[in-house]
Symmetry: C2
Subunit: 684 residues, 2 copies
Amino acid sequence: MRSSSTLAVAALAATTLSAALADEGMWTINAFPAEAVEKAYGFRPDQIWLDRVHLSSLRLARGCSGSFVSPKGLVQTNHHCASACIEQLSSTKEDFITLGFYAKEAKDEVKCPDIEVNQLIAITDVTTLIQKATAGKDGQAFAAALKAEIAMIANECSGNDVNIRCDVVSLYQGGLYHLYKYRRYQDVRLVFAPEKSIAFFGGDPANFEFPRYNLDVSYLRVYVNGDPLDTRSTYFRYAKADVQPGDLTFTSGHPGSTNRLDTVAQLEFRRDVTLPRYIFAQSELRAILTVFSTKGPEEARIANEMLFRVENSLKARKGQFSALVDPAIIRRRAETERKLREAVAADPQLQAQYGAAWDIIKNVLDGYRSERDRHVFTEGGEGFRSKLFQIAQVLVRRASERTKPDRERLKEYTDASFPTLRQSIASAAPIYSELEKLTLTFSLTKLREALGPDDAFVMKVLGRKSPVELATELVDETKLADRSLRIRLLEGDKAQIDASADAMIMFARMIDADLRAVRKNYENNVEAPLTKFSGQIAAVTFRLLGESTYPDGTFTLRISYGTVKGYRQDAPITQFSGVFKRATGTEPFKLPDSWIAARASLDPRQSFNFTTTNDIVGGNSGSPVVNRAGEVVGLIFDGNVWSLGGAFGYDQATNRAIAINVGAMREALSTVYEADRLVDELKE
Amino acid sequence: MRSSSTLAVAALAATTLSAALADEGMWTINAFPAEAVEKAYGFRPDQIWLDRVHLSSLRLARGCSGSFVSPKGLVQTNHHCASACIEQLSSTKEDFITLGFYAKEAKDEVKCPDIEVNQLIAITDVTTLIQKATAGKDGQAFAAALKAEIAMIANECSGNDVNIRCDVVSLYQGGLYHLYKYRRYQDVRLVFAPEKSIAFFGGDPANFEFPRYNLDVSYLRVYVNGDPLDTRSTYFRYAKADVQPGDLTFTSGHPGSTNRLDTVAQLEFRRDVTLPRYIFAQSELRAILTVFSTKGPEEARIANEMLFRVENSLKARKGQFSALVDPAIIRRRAETERKLREAVAADPQLQAQYGAAWDIIKNVLDGYRSERDRHVFTEGGEGFRSKLFQIAQVLVRRASERTKPDRERLKEYTDASFPTLRQSIASAAPIYSELEKLTLTFSLTKLREALGPDDAFVMKVLGRKSPVELATELVDETKLADRSLRIRLLEGDKAQIDASADAMIMFARMIDADLRAVRKNYENNVEAPLTKFSGQIAAVTFRLLGESTYPDGTFTLRISYGTVKGYRQDAPITQFSGVFKRATGTEPFKLPDSWIAARASLDPRQSFNFTTTNDIVGGNSGSPVVNRAGEVVGLIFDGNVWSLGGAFGYDQATNRAIAINVGAMREALSTVYEADRLVDELKE
């Protein structure tokens, strides 16, 4: 028995998870394979190198990466990571998306309404605590115990300090639980942003493609108590020299979410249900926003950010879908899974403890197929796309959740989560009622389509109204666009919310019990068993193969290594000359005036963008590219279309990260924008 | 050897194609299983019954079914089958889509610009001719021989008579070829149509659902030489009594296209490529048209027909996609295929002759995956959605094709196809330039998205223009909206087209060679091998199992049988009372004034819509439901959501056709619309 199991394990180890291949891997900062890097590239990052990368790297809490690049709290990230802020600070009179933004003096730096920056300060393994709390539990009991334990750990960690953020992160699909402790910064100000037309040159058509010519950079600054944060000990210097083909490159950032350890059933569910249905709905939303944008410059301005987000995620999901319908990926996964299950089956004890996990996961997903739309369109929010509705929902729920003990609350309403919640409610970002009506009408229509016009919940929501009538009425008759009112209501008590006659609050109140019921059903009957049995698969994988690989992306800090390298016939580095050649004079290939004016002064052979083999995915946007010396040589802003399949696996032949060369940023700042204050700061 | 083969065949026969189950089947009129019907229902349709059904049934050439229902050429079909005509006859002043239409006197009947009605008069087996012409050929040679033989057969059949239409139909994926000879009617006039709000009550949200309350009927009349066609010998009488649960029902109509005999590789290609990509693109188009429609009543009017078509096909394809991602269907097909291949492999001679077919089909499709978008967005037309472009393309191609021998032409330019071509060019249907610009801009954008902004063909098409600039310019600078000009150009020669300076003709000319190259590649390397090897699979299936089943849908006349029956908990028949209960006063659940006014005079218990087990798919719209006596008891207008999976298989437990009860049509005509002339005619 034992020997056949060993054999099976050997076969398994030879083909699978046991070791990442070549440049593959989004490694945690505390388990970086320095030896592998040394073996491949003759350079071994030491602890000092790793610590600097760790503390200089940042997370933008709404879904991007960044880094400190000066001693005075200056943050480098992508333009598209700050574009919500840039849009929120704009107005009909001054459109910084179109014109760009530059704070000539320190006093001109303006606070971003919604940006939160997180700096990781500690990681603690809490696996044993979680395992103890959930041992022997299933379904609702499992979900409740897990939630309570996580809330307790996070609460204790932050100690009610709003400047500390603590997240319990499930690594390896629940195989390990780590506590990530961050310093939280909510006073983040805009310093510089180029015009969108050069930041996103080529627009959606060029997105995820290469050759590229994008200056997708922006600079922010972290303030504390009204002063720039002192980051003398924790920042990346800008390198003097540009990268060259073959250079060793590191990225540090926050890959959002990958599914490289998912079971075949999970991948098939994604291929057959999650991805296509998401793409169906988003495709329509994209078109609605596109048409809205063509109504006039003001409409284009206010829809810009949402349209970018929708198009970007649409193209990303289409790439993931394409990757998954290529039968090779699922076939390979099936082979891996078969071998792992054989190894488990060869040991009666393992089989008894873990053998059922794969079938249970499949059964849970089979059951969820018919429930998915109800979940996604109700509690998932796809049926109620409106900031005003979201605000109303938060107010209604916060009022009710705060009356409960912390460990029993919905997880986004714990005390530890309150700073994030408060920032969203107190945000000074404008709310555009035309856009609100547009997206709410659309999403109510999709809710009706998904559940059917005769569904009881749909009839409760719409009554005898059409989606456009209901959306118009709710948006027109709510006062929640008033920021001070929202803050008052957030700080008020349940009686105040219960008594409110605000149309949107009344609506959110009316459907809240229905939405909670859907959520509860999902948490107990889908999420809980998936977490539990994915954790079992991870645990048995560790037992058989050790922890020699990296966990799936979890929007936590990861380091990757790779080299500057092209794919197919393309050279890995573009030059300034290319952007002038590719420009057509019409959107989205239209250059801003600033670049046309500066053309003669720019070195046409200046490196612009480059591709590397670094293993990155969405969430890595804004990651610095770092050389052996620990200096910034570039800024990640995209991956190529093949990198989208990176959600399911890494293929060194085609998967590429796309970055801006450091020299291009410097040259643009000095020659095109004459941003001398910034150029000087970046020399420090 | 022999005995194992026999065993395998027996196993095969037990599970598969050999016999349709229960009410399954869209049977050809010349191979109707009268015996099976008698066995199941105690009624055996005789040849007289079949002949009457055959000759009274009609095809609407652009994709619907219909039937003669009076001695004077009166045609019953769906409202949604005539809605293009209803819209084309409307204007800003008189919108018959909204108001309905009734020709009080014979002289008020108005000609539909684009409708062609076909009456089947003969079927001839031409399999041997085709097989002889293509024997031993592959790729380009196969495609050329097949095209030439089909053109010759069709030409000889029609004898240059524009009133005769001859189509060579490939049945069983090329297992058989039948020549279908039709009488062609192009003078078809609108007699009656109700308001869209009752014809399509519940709109897209209710489409493919049940319970339903739709009066989706319209009446047309066929004219010949200015007089109504004499159809005394070939029409269906309206039954006096409504259907009741359990009644035996027949439908005769033209199921458009099914894939019940496709290989697993073909189904997977459909699941992974064809269906999702179609839905992605159509979802955006739907949203674009939806927003356009909300601009005002005139925009709503001119986009109505296209929006309906897009939404209808979108919902249908989504249903097909849902059916295919349910693993049961492909698993069953794989099982059937495995058994068939085992039976073939067990006989060395069969194996040598047919054994490779499945793998070749798979390889062809694997190769086509990366070519599919180029094909669909160029020659397939998805990149050039514009009536004016289509007209220009027809003119350019016709001018060039007519200089070649008939058998060498593109198939839609043979002499036999000319009447259809001419009708499309000479159509008096209005062309709306705003809508043209909208859809052309959209499709050019999608072309760029599909092939990439740096693709050579995309750059040739767009040059330095954006999609909206190019579309606007082409639509503004073409004169092809002028009908008489188009007719002149169609009748002119190649020199005239070559010399034309019309913007759209110049554009069509510029890209024609590129489009033809893509088409040729597709025909030779995809279509030809698929046709050839699907034909081989069909042939070997016949050899092993006989021709005991029905062929996939081919938009040719088929008869189905079934019974009035509900599914799940729903009763199979709705009543007039239901529509008043379900009406909300807002679109799409808003009743027209005529119904609200007539409410008191209507019997609330009058049967309205009903469901049956008849096996129908898209193309059957407008099919009469016929009882044992050969009388019309209903009119098919839809199927339920489960019937959409009917593309791949029939499941009697859930698959239902949806029809209007004959009494509801009669009651509405007399009581709501007081259409006495029509009511009297339907009594004849």
